[in-house]
Amino acid sequence: MSRKTMVGGATIVTALALWYLATSVTQMISPGRFPSPADTWDAFRQITGAGYANGLLLDHVLRSVMLVSFGFLVAVCTGVPLGLWMGWSRRAEALINPVFLIIRPIPPLAWIPLAILWLGLGDAAKILVIWFAAFVPSVINAYTGVRNLDRTLVEAARMLGTPLLTFVREVLLPGASPMIFTGLRLSLQASWTTLVAAELVGAMTGLGRVLNAAQQDLYPGMILVGMIAVTLCGWLMTAALGMAERRALSWNIATQARD
């Protein structure tokens, strides 16, 4: 075991021990401010057994993950082609870019009130907000990917008279895909944050709803359970995307060298 993992492990153990000591033994931190390990475990048992805020933990997780996946997929399917097109055609870029420049500085979270006004507190408003959050990074990175294509390859393919569809499949997409995946990762993270925020503002089920209810009930144990669930789900989805990226880009030497 390397020195690094030993020190790291010792730190984590010390932090957990300090948590237990400060909340349970010495009561230095009052249970109304931060939960003890036992409180957290009780809250976890409650939400998985009896349910909390209109559902079991699994219901909330599934609802949130489903909404994010759906909004993310819609954004990717619209954003990546638009970005590729803007990267390829200077005319399309000149036409669309000004609109983009106006929309881009508005943070995705700022669309939440408008989405609620338009579509209410249901799923449709959340998907709209996730779409706004994930769309911009998808477009920008697909666009950059095309712009950074190797010119020699592009010109060689064109000189040899490659038909458009083959060209897109064999040169454009593979060449731009490392950048596209970077964009997808940013999109996914933005989607997840935005969904949690939208659910905090108003929702019937979902992890943001759990956090909101726990905040109103002054229930620190449940707040911590909700935060851990939000973090784990976000992390797992990013990891799944990373696996897809490695599979899709296994031919790419740069990615292999990075791993």
């Binding site: 005319r91 609109v99 995705p108 408008l114 944050t193 925020a197 905090l200 956090l211 905040q215």
Partner: protein, 260 residues
């Protein structure tokens, strides 16, 4: 990939822009979408100007923007003041690096917005809670970029300094810090963007002043123009923050002869 001449691309840009505004205006003026939900661009601009000197939800648009910017300055300043020195020290002292990194990695994955309930519980919904959420958003890039900047400092410079008997403290302030500055500035820009985003989120959920609060009130009163005016305000301030930091970045890079 043909290169378009400048006037052509300007013309196309104008066409795209006016098509966007035109479709928007047509949808709302023709009554295809009720103007309650989609007010015309002109109505939004009028509302924006009206709000500049009329009170809504406890203050004018400028009051709300000012409250938001104070919070932002607090949270962002705190993140820079803690994140940058800590990052540099981690780049210098291996032990500190090994201790902080696992804790930091565990906390970094928590979305800033997920801190909202604890922030409200610990620091209230006035100034403290939102500042903590901005801090949660702005802190990681500050630390990571200062750390990377310190790690990539030229080892020859460090070794030369040490050989000449420079004490640790001076190596950090006079070798590590200057060579990390480009990376730190890049980090500050990311950090300011994330901090501004987190601020908007925090104000939508917990706050009783600020631009986000104004938008939530506008939503509650079904005043779409107010919500859209708020979005314009947020966009403008976000843009100003980014431009200021970009200018600072360019000025620093130019002074060091590093600009492209």
């Amino acid at each position: 990939m043909r290169i378009l001449c400048a006037t052509n691309s300007l013309l196309l840009g104008l066409i795209g822009f006016s098509a966007f505004l035109g479709i928007w205006a047509l949808l709302s003026i023709s009554g295809l979408v009720p103007s309650l939900f989609l007010p015309s661009p002109l109505a939004v601009v009028e509302r924006f100007i009206y709000l500049l000197d009329h009170r809504f939800a406890g203050g004018t648009l400028l009051d709300h923007l000012w409250a938001s910017m104070l919070r932002f300055a607090g949270g962002f300043g705190l993140a820079v003041a803690v994140g940058v020195p800590l990052g540099l020290l981690m780049g210098w002292f291996r032990l500190l690096d090994d201790i902080v990194t696992p804790l930091f990695d565990a906390v970094r994955f928590i979305a800033p917005i997920a801190w909202v309930p604890f922030a409200a519980l610990w620091f209230g919904t006035g100034i403290g809670g939102p500042i903590m959420i901005i801090f949660a958003g702005a802190f990681p890039p500050c630390l990571i970029n200062a750390y990377r900047g310190a790690k990539f400092a030229d080892p020859r410079l460090i070794e030369a300094a040490r050989m000449l008997g420079t004490p640790d403290r001076r190596v950090i302030t006079e070798v590590l810090l200057p060579s990390a500055v480009p990376s730190i500035i890049a980090g500050l820009r990311i950090s300011a963007g994330l901090g501004w985003q987190s601020l908007v989120g925090a104000e939508l959920i917990v706050a009783s002043t600020g631009i986000g609060y104004m938008m939530v009130q506008g939503q509650g009163n079904v005043s779409t123009t107010t919500v859209m005016a708020g979005m314009i305000g947020i966009g403008i301030i976000g843009l100003i923050i980014d431009v200021v930091l970009r200018q600072a970045e360019n000025a620093i890079l130019r002074r060091r002869g590093l600009s492209a």
